[in-house]
């Protein structure tokens, strides 16, 4: 199966995010970036499918942050092709970014496109559905596992609903799936393999770089959330705290 995977860099929240003086964007000056977690799962899912059924995995990314590191890691894990979309500045918000990804993916003509269902920088919505729209493919999101089904030209996608209900859906290909989790957690890649990939991997430049990608959303103001004052800290001995909790629950009518 010919699979394309989109991977994104997101700021590492280990350091506090700074808002630039303009007040409408982040100051990424001292931030470091890492691979978006659900994209990591999307990549793992693609590689698992390839290992089980053969195929070809192409990884598509915007050139930003520490993306090279992420892409070498993807190559070390077993990705066959790496396509990079050159950028001068930070990536645009998802709706605009999806256009770029779609442009880069079209020449690959994949049967299946996997992308993380969420990222913590999605200002105007998730990339995954926008990408499906731009590619003109069907979309299913919040997927926790993909299998090659009995039917040719389709895959089985597993989706979890609240209340511990799992659904198995037959998805006709080509399609875009928004991945929440792979069949198994992403495996560890040793540094020596990443270093090996650095020596042997060639990145391809995507023509999508030439497409203009004006943000479709304008940000009026970025600000840290105001601290709420609704929390009440209980103190005292264990018994006191316990009886306070019982009181509160009774007040709210939750216990009699």
């Amino acid at each position: 199966m010919n699979i394309a995977v989109v991977v994104r860099q997101v700021p590492d929240l280990i350091e506090p995010l700074e808002i630039a003086p303009s007040g409408t964007e982040f100051d990424f000056g001292s931030a470091s970036f890492l691979l978006n977690e659900s994209d990591d799962h999307a990549l793992e899912q693609a590689l698992l499918l390839k290992e089980a059924h053969g195929g070809h995995v192409t990884v598509v990314a915007l050139d930003f942050g520490d993306v090279d590191n992420t892409l070498y890691t993807a190559a070390a894990k077993g990705a066959d092709r790496i396509v990079k979309i050159a950028r001068d500045d930070a990536p645009p918000p998802p709706r605009a970014a999806a256009v770029l990804y779609a442009e880069a993916i079209k020449p690959i003509a994949p049967e299946l496109v996997l992308v993380g269902v969420q990222a913590h920088d999605e200002l105007d919505g998730g990339v995954a559905p926008f990408l499906a729209a731009a590619l003109g493919m069907p979309y299913v999101g919040v997927i926790r596992g993909v299998a090659v089904g009995a039917e040719p030209g389709a895959v089985a996608a597993f989706k979890e609903f609240p209340g511990a209900v799992m659904a198995r859906m037959n998805v006709k290909l080509p399609a875009v799936l928004g991945i929440l989790g792979a069949d198994q957690p992403p495996r560890y890649v040793p540094v020596s393999r990443i270093r090996g990939a650095m020596k042997t991997t060639q990145f391809e430049e995507s023509a999508a770089a030439a497409v203009s990608s004006e943000p479709l959303t304008a940000i009026a103001r970025l600000y840290p959330p105001a601290a709420g004052s609704r929390a009440e800290m209980l103190s005292g001995s264990e018994t006191e705290i316990a009886s306070r909790i019982v009181d509160i629950l009774a007040q709210k009518g939750l216990v009699k």
Binding site: I14, Y188, S192, R193
Partner: protein, 734 residues
């Protein structure tokens, strides 16, 4: 002329010839067997740092090295903690050795001096000595075998019991039983020979007159029995006809003599027939035994001394790396490692010492070694292709991950097997395949990204210094005497941070000029290397080495034994001396730079951290400091080189406990400390130990009964003056 050892007494000529035909065949079989086994070692790769094996052998034959080899190889010095095993092993080895040498000497006596020159070495007093030596060592051998049988088949300690199919306690039985039979048939043959002597003496005594006596001797075939020249026959005939004893030295062979008396009632014919039968049995069994040595566990007679002789001269804290991506099959190991597994005697000492094994984790270092050895034995010496993988069914991942790299096994192994090295080599393959425990994967990703296992920002590394009322120098900006390489736990763990600050205060009080690498320090990689992530270790070492080369300092200092080990033994870039803070405190106290103002009257016990003690031999410095601050030290039963690991090493601190585990090693250790009468405080000298033991004190429910304290805290307490100044600091900031 004096009497001499009878040669081939009662043995017909054809049998003597048959014996001579067999000797070269047996020796050739033995040599072929040794060659077949030894060739397999060289299925392995070359050993890092060793150019050629012949040259290494030449270098090993050096008086100094041989002096170190002799006690370990010939006298099994590493068995000394187990007196029973030591005595048993001496008895068997030296019993066999003396009997073998005696037989060899008898052969020389007979073939190299008697046959060509009609002269014997074994005569007179020397022969008496020979007789008693062989009899005594024969008894010693049988006793040793009895001890072995008692241990293996009656006591049956766990370390000798099989846990896997394919190996069993009874494997060694045929060999041990054959040795016993050789010894017993030797005695019986001797007794029968002596019994025949008694009959001859009686008949000679019964005959009247010299001629009649000589006639009796001739009738009994005495001359033929002697296998010596005519002249010497005459001498012996005359001596016995004169009333001399047939075997004057028999009395020097008390066992043979006693058996001779026991067999005396039998007829001469019966004695002769029996003697020939037993003589053959003795000879054939002994030959069989020699030929079989390379095919049985007794091969350790060759492989173990060879391994001890060719043992690595590197410090124990330096892990050898032959294949970065790890070991999949026996051919990925080096010849030295294959020699090691072949040298294993299956004594189980390593298993008994292993903290993982004792606490119910699924690991026996003995079984790992045996699994590799049995695969080696099944691999043809001419293997060209890939032998089967050592992983999964032979060595399971959970075994490999259970190891806390404490080196207790290697320390105790009588034949110098390096289990941790083997385990790390096998782990590297798992890491290469991405097969790592979840917790470990998080830790490794954190090391990759942030250079610490806590997943904390590198920028926060020096944050522990903030509450101090003085600033520590930045060694990248100004020259310092000591560059303090702090380590992860000491920098990031909240409980340890306070101890780290305490040590900083002590150093300041003593006027020690220290500086840090601040946020540029990364984990030194000691445990990363032992997890089996060699590439990540190399990356961390590169980064640290780069920062170190940019800093100006004279010596390196650390409180963390793991960091100490890596900097000292595995950072080739670092040429400066590396000190553990216990060593520095000891120096400061002895040199007078640190004066204590209060004697602490605590009764304490001290836990030797693996990477300080067993890996680097630092045992005395911390104990001297404990003495200097006034505490009374009560040692735990397992201390010094025999110390018991806290269970944190080798990456274990980040992994989940095995489902089979009964207790954590740290809990086991805390119970050991609690069992000591009057001990109030368990003193540690390692940041990880502090965390592990403080947790363990809680989980065993001993809170309030045992304090876990760092050595630095005790020194600080006894510095009275510092306490005062700290109070002042508190006042001034209030």
């Amino acid at each position: 002329m004096e009497y001499a050892r009878p040669i081939m007494w009662n043995v017909p000529h054809w049998a003597e010839i048959a014996l001579y035909v067999m000797i070269p065949i047996v020796l050739a079989a033995f040599a072929a067997g040794v060659y077949w086994r030894a060739r397999k070692w060289f299925l392995g790769r070359s050993e890092p740092g060793v150019e050629s094996v012949p040259r290494l052998l030449l270098a090993a034959i050096h008086p100094g090295r041989l002096a170190r080899w002799t006690p370990a190889a010939l006298f099994q010095s590493r068995l000394s903690p187990d007196l029973f095993a030591l005595v048993m092993h001496w008895a068997i080895l030296w019993g066999m050795a003396v009997l073998f040498l005696g037989t060899a000497l008898a052969t020389i006596d007979q073939d190299f001096t008697n046959l060509p020159f009609d002269f014997q070495l074994l005569r007179g007093k020397f022969y008496c000595l020979f007789e008693i030596a062989l009899d005594v060592f024969g008894v010693v051998l049988i006793l040793g075998l009895g001890m072995a049988a008692y241990r293996r088949y009656l006591v049956r300690p766990k370390r000798l019991q099989a846990t896997r199919t394919g190996v069993s306690l009874w494997d060694g039985f045929p060999f041990l039983a054959t040795i016993a039979l050789v010894a017993v048939t030797g005695f019986v043959a001797e007794g029968l020979r002596i019994a025949e002597g008694f009959h001859i003496e009686a008949r000679v005594a019964a005959a009247e007159g010299l001629d009649a006596k000589i006639r009796v001797l001739d009738e009994m075939g005495f001359r033929e029995h002697l296998h010596v020249g005519r002249e010497r026959q005459d001498v012996q005939v005359n001596r016995i006809a004169d009333g001399g004893r047939v075997f004057p030295a028999a009395i020097w062979a008390p066992v043979g003599y006693g058996l001779g008396k026991a067999f005396e009632p039998l007829s001469v014919d019966a004695i002769r027939a029996l003697h020939q039968g037993v003589w053959w049995a003795h000879g054939l069994l002994a030959f069989g035994l020699i030929a079989c040595i390379p095919l049985t566990k007794a091969f350790h007679l060759i492989s173990s001394p060879a391994n001890i002789l060719l043992h690595s001269a590197d410090p124990p804290g330096r892990l050898a790396v032959a294949v970065e991506s790890g070991v999949t099959n026996v051919r990925d190991l080096t010849w030295r490692q294959l020699l090691q597994v072949d040298a294993c005697t299956w004594c189980g000492k390593c298993q008994e010492a292993c903290p993982a094994n004792q606490c119910g984790f699924p690991l026996s270092p003995r079984d790992v070694v045996q699994a590799v050895d049995s695969q080696l034995l099944r691999t043809p010496a001419k293997a060209n292709g890939e032998p089967p993988s050592l992983h999964d069914s032979r060595v399971r991942p959970e075994e490999l991950w259970a190891c806390c790299s404490c080196r207790a096994c290697e320390e105790i192994c009588p034949v110098f097997v390096q289990h941790p090295r083997l385990i790390v080599d096998l782990r590297r393959h798992l890491v290469d395949q991405g097969q790592v425990d979840e917790g470990l994967q998080d830790a490794l990703m954190n090391f990759q990204r942030y250079g610490n296992s806590f997943g904390q920002s590198p920028r926060k590394r020096p944050d522990w210094t903030k509450p101090l009322d003085f600033t520590l120098k930045d060694a990248r900006k100004e020259e310092v005497e000591y560059l303090w390489f702090v380590g992860d736990y000491a920098s990031y763990d909240q409980r340890v941070q306070e101890v780290t600050r305490t040590i900083a205060r002590v150093l300041r009080h003593a006027g020690v000029d220290v500086g840090l690498l601040m946020e540029k320090e990364q984990n030194a990689g000691n445990d990363v290397r032992r997890i089996g992530e060699e590439g990540l270790f190399a990356m961390l070492r590169e980064k640290n080495a780069k920062e170190l080369s940019g800093a100006r300092f004279r010596k390196l200092l650390t409180t963390d034994p793991h960091t100490y080990n890596a900097l000292k033994n595995e950072y080739d870039e670092v040429v400066a001396p590396v000190l553990h803070y216990t060593q520095l405190l000891d120096e400061l106290l002895r040199g007078g730079a640190l004066r204590l103002h209060r004697k602490l009257d605590y009764v304490v016990t001290y836990h030797d951290p693996c990477y300080l003690g067993r890996f680097n031999g630092v045992y005395d410095a911390p104990r001297r400091v404990l003495g200097a601050v006034g505490t009374r030290l009560v040692e735990m039963p397992r201390h010094g080189p025999n110390s018991f690991c806290c269970g944190a090493g080798g990456g274990r601190i980040w992994m989940k406990d095995a489902p089979t585990s009964q207790e954590r090693p740290a809990e086991n250790r805390v119970r050991e400390a609690l069992a000591l009468p009057g001990v109030q405080c368990l003193v540690v000298a390692c940041p990880k130990d502090l965390v592990m033991f403080q947790d363990a004190v809680k989980t065993v429910g001993a809170e309030g009964r045992l304090r876990v304290a760092d050595l630095g805290e005790l020194v600080y307490e006894s510095l009275g003056i510092t306490l005062k100044s700290m109070a002042e600091v508190a006042e001034s900031t209030a």
